[in-house]
Symmetry: C2
DNA sequence: CTGTTAGCGCCTTCAA
DNA sequence: TTGAAGGCGCTAACAG
């Protein structure tokens, strides 16, 4: 392995000088720089990451925690994996510009067994990015004692760490408003997500807010699903059984998977969506656009979530004293035809934040890059060869 | 930050002893071990990864290179991202059992600009995993000079590095054999992948081999596509234009995306698949099961590819002298109805290797874990607390 | 502009 | 069974 010493010796300078040349910042005489660069090239020197980390007291690595998927088969349930991937790419983009790296850790989602691995992770990175539902709050708090942690796509409320999330509440409100005001729906049925899941709760709150503003509309019933297609199908069947005599004119689902399940149940029962009943989901997963009718839903800016979370984390690493903050990103209404819009409709429109959605003025504006006003390291050339 | 020294001082022992306790291997008196563990717990000591790496001369990190996706919108083109993700999970599984980590690097796929980043990567990891088409051969060779490199899902021939890939040739042969022997198709049209792409070539070879074995069958024409839906559609149109008077009775596509494109063109022209013409793809992407008719195709064991590649890489890191090797994993034939099988068919059957597919006897057998016979580090407890 | 010199936190012989 | 001590490769004062 070629070290800084080898280069220094060969070039007849000190290691400090080589280091300066490698980082291209301090002033070095042009002739010296040239000579050193030649030797670097010739020897094929590449700095050792571990030594750099140790010496700088900064690893320039951030950890990203994923859930291990147990299913080996692709199906619609797994489609949100794509979103995971998209978030990760957002993070990747935000990070590699600055020359930092991304260290992936898979957890099983079983608190006990995950902890040692996550704890060890804190010794290998400068900060951690986590999907809300992946790591339970108490565990999160323990990690956050060691390194900065930013939670992606979670509840804007109850975490010990910074949060970057989408505006589920406003998205849901916009969706239900559309159903009521554009399509004149009045009798809604709600298929909720699992109890205690932040996203589900926010979406429910969004719907309820709209309902309160429209006293002529009623929620004729609801069903608690598990965010899975299967549970959506059960929800649909249950609804048909209980409200068969007086069906709702719209079904609002906590996510797209459940909406697809409901659609299956309705289709099996000979109910035609959207004529007999409108149906909407949330998340904008890919197969939602393929169903018959295509699903109206709400899109989250996954990639942006990743980028913002990354920026926030880097910022906090640079300035640990920062006040904890929640950033809520805007969503988009995706109109297709399951809501009653004409067949062939494919419209995306930005959702304006409702009050209480905690969407700050900063949050929506991509230009307000906190990194720009902080001590955060900016992108730098990996090796300056200016001669 | 709590260091080994802090623990040593607090426990009244030397750092060497603490180190021994942390790794739970050397013999330490039980009472000492107990005391040290208590202090570790109390102080919340977590070893510093960079220092460990530097001291051990091994980082216990492997690099995984991904292509940055430029499109911001999900569509069928992006579905192979899912496979990427799946490969990565395979790698993750293989690696984290052993306590190693995965460092992700995104590249743009533009040789020039990618090189510095990849070169820097070699200083941060012990080995690199790469998708064949992602990094061009010459660049690969340069990286392989520095650290072990394993290429996933590529040509079993021309690389400077180890390769773990799927048996494209046999899969394709099985598919075409099915078309001919089960469904009696005789006049084939081929939609090829891009020139120079290894997968495409292997698949073509598989088809040609079968054709040679069936002199009564003819390849009436072919079209070179780009692996995209768009190019598939063009292929379909071109085929209709050129062979409109005497259509083929089956179209064999280099991948599922192109098959979907062809299907669109055929449907638009009023041709009914599979009655008028059979159609098959390759890869088994998710939307292929959703089309009308559902697509018959070949499935690659992505997750297994990841796992095997990972094992291979770890093995090579442990024993750098190893002979270069290509491992070819078996595929599965996925029978749905676009080939002529009855509607509702969903069958998966293993593909037997054809001669020349370079599928070694070892390769197919998951039990032949090279790690087991080598100096490869086995999983170890992250911290022994046996008292 | 350039060189000297302490470390960074941990592992690992070598002695005791 | 334990301790002492010398690196691992690089960075960053501090001097010149």
């Amino acid at each position: 392995m070629v070290t800084l010493y080898d280069v220094a010796r060969q070039a007849g300078v000190s290691t400090a000088t080589v280091s300066r040349v490698v980082h291209g910042q301090d002033r070095v005489r042009d002739s010296t720089r040239l000579r050193v660069n030649q030797v670097i090239e010739q020897l094929g020197y590449v700095p050792d990451g571990a030594a750099q980390s140790l010496s700088r007291r900064r690893k320039e690595i951030i950890g990203f925690v994923c859930v291990e998927s147990h299913s080996r088969q692709y199906d619609v349930e797994n489609m949100n994996l794509l979103y995971y991937d998209e978030v990760m790419r957002g993070v990747g983009a935000g990070i590699s510009d600055r020359g930092w790296s991304l260290l992936i850790t898979y957890v099983n989602g079983e608190d006990e067994r995950d902890f040692p691995r996550l704890q060890a992770l804190t010794g290998k990175v400068d900060g951690i990015l986590i999907g809300q539902s992946v790591v339970p709050s108490p565990l999160l708090a323990r990690l956050a004692e060691r390194v900065p942690v930013v939670v992606i796509a979670g509840a804007p409320g109850d975490s010990a760490a910074d949060v970057v999330t989408a505006d589920n509440r406003s998205g849901s409100a916009a969706l239900v408003t559309h159903l009521i005001e554009v399509h004149g729906r009045r009798r809604l049925f709600h298929v909720d997500g699992p109890a205690g899941v932040a996203d589900a709760k926010e979406r429910r709150l969004g719907m309820e807010r709209v309902l309160r503003a429209h006293p002529d509309c009623t929620l004729i019933g609801s069903y608690q699903g598990q965010f899975s297609v299967q549970s959506g199908e059960e929800a649909g069947q249950s609804m048909l059984a209980q409200h068969g005599s007086a069906l709702p004119d719209a079904v609002v689902c906590g996510n797209d998977q459940m909406a697809i399940g409901v659609l299956q149940a309705l289709t099996a029962a000979g109910i035609r969506v959207p004529w007999d009943m409108a149906l909407v989901g949330f998340d904008d997963i890919y197969p939602g656009g393929l169903s018959e009718p295509p699903l109206t839903t709400v899109h989250q800016p996954m990639r942006l979530l990743g980028e913002r979370a990354c920026i926030r984390l880097l910022d906090r690493i640079a300035r640990p004293g920062l006040r904890r903050r929640v950033e809520v990103l805007p969503t988009e209404l995706v109109l297709r035809s399951s809501c009653g819009c004409p067949p062939g409709t494919v419209t995306r429109e930005p959702v304006k934040p409702v009050r209480g959605s905690r969407l700050t003025s900063r949050a929506g504006s991509a230009s307000a890059d906190p990194a720009r006003q902080s001590g955060l390291p900016r992108p730098r050339p990996s090796r300056a060869r200016t001669s």
